[in-house]
Symmetry: C2
Subunit: 138 residues, 2 copies
């Protein structure tokens, strides 16, 4: 998706039900395979920037600032389509993920499956966190 016009974005933002912390839940799904990659949060500025730029930008609750996915790691999410749910408090981001979504180096953050022994790891890292970030964080 190329960026949407500002007027359309502002009109759409009126239908978004940000919570008492000013956030909505974002689910990133790889557009061609349907794989759910990750869940993170967006505030109004993050959603606006995502729709304007066509690159996914979240809001980091821990760092309390915009988190342009891939700005450190290079693992950007190109936005193909964004969909809002019925009560307006979750957005489905259909993306084309460069490389891996997870900070552990795995394609998806959902790499642990509940099974008869507790939790089982079902996928291994494709790259090392050191390759993604050098010495530090997301």
């Amino acid at each position: 998706m190329v960026g949407l016009p500002s007027e359309a974005i502002e009109r759409a933002l009126e239908s978004v039900a940000f919570d008492e912390s000013g956030l909505i839940c974002g689910i990133a799904q790889q557009v061609d395979t349907g794989e759910v990659l990750m869940v993170a949060w967006l505030n109004r500025d993050a959603l606006r920037e995502t729709l304007e730029s066509g690159r996914v930008c979240y809001y980091s609750r821990s760092r309390k600032k915009l988190w342009r996915k891939g700005e450190t790691s290079g693992q950007v999410q190109r936005l193909v389509e964004a969909r809002l749910d019925c009560d307006g408090d979750a957005v489905l981001l259909l993306v084309d993920q460069s490389g891996v979504a997870c900070h552990t180096g795995r394609r998806s953050c959902f790499f642990r499956s509940f099974d008869e022994n507790g939790l089982k790891i079902i996928s291994e890292p494709e790259v090392s966190p050191e390759q993604l970030y050098g010495a530090s964080g997301h």
Copy 2:
């Protein structure tokens, strides 16, 4: 999935990072098509019941009680697999959805797409809310 043994569930629950309200985010995805159906919340009891029973149970924040998906509408979600994300605060529920997931009668709650005019409705109800619920709510 048939229900998991209690011991395995309790062991897995130790890795789940419930937030300050005791909740985690749940994403329901139709297992065969990959369609993301809905996002809702689970507390510890809801997640435990989901894993024990093999039927998805959420926690309704508005009604402040367990919400056994489909108990009124008949539109149950049979659990096939549950996956936990890297930081333990979101669970991906791979389900087989009977009928529709959305209270509007649509298959998915994500039926509005951001476009150059604002928001566009991209799917229509398959059944009427009245057919699902009679006179009232979820």
